[in-house]
Amino acid sequence: MKQLIDIQVKTTHLQIDECYDFVTDPSCGGLALFVGTVRNKNKGESITKLTFEAYTAMALKEMKKIAETCINEKGANKISLHHRIGDVLISEKAVIIAVSSTHRAAAFEACQYAIDTLKETVPIWKKEFLVDGSYWVNATP
């Protein structure tokens, strides 16, 4: 069977082309992509870099669940989910999600579902480094 799902958690730069090339297909007319990059500010504070830590084995499993839901329930044809870990600098890509579908509405819906769910369920943690310290994002209320 042709591979429909491409999940990667890696320390090297994420490449949009790699995700696009995986999901594109002569039978698909619409592709939606989401790219999450590192912002230079959060709540007014200047960020110097981020570090992402992952429980990689479980992250891959949770990302696979998301991908399967996109294909089985959201009308996606193929999906690529790449997440960067380790140090990530301002403007670098932290996550790429690419979804192809026969029609565009399904591609958008699946892509948005995938990033929303990834942020809720995938065991990856972000530490923000500011000029005067660092902290784990979302850890405390």
């Binding site: 992402f52 992952a54 479980m58 932290a94 065991p123 990856i124 943690w125 784990w136 850890a139 405390t140």
Partner: protein
């Protein structure tokens, strides 16, 4: 039982091997109570989850000594 720690929890919890029998821990809930008692900083978290064998675990799940158990602070990927 092996305990895997992540993010902010790694800065608080130091032990990575817990004797279930000695500490009278049978379920995920028992483990949480044990940890909260020993590391009260955990109360300051928005929430935290226990994963058993790389799957989110309910409170009533029974733990075995050969399980891979992880304490997960609130995730913040993406």
């Amino acid at each position: 039982m092996e305990l895997i720690l992540f993010g902010i929890i790694k800065e608080w919890v130091t032990e990575t091997d817990i004797d279930l029998q000695e500490n009278n821990i049978q379920t995920v809930k028992d483990l949480k109570l044990y940890l909260l008692n020993k590391y009260p900083q955990l109360n300051s978290l928005s929430s935290y989850m226990i994963a058993v064998n790389q799957t989110y675990a309910e409170d009533n799940m029974v733990l075995s000594t050969d399980a891979e158990v992880a304490i997960l602070p609130p995730v913040s990927g993406g």
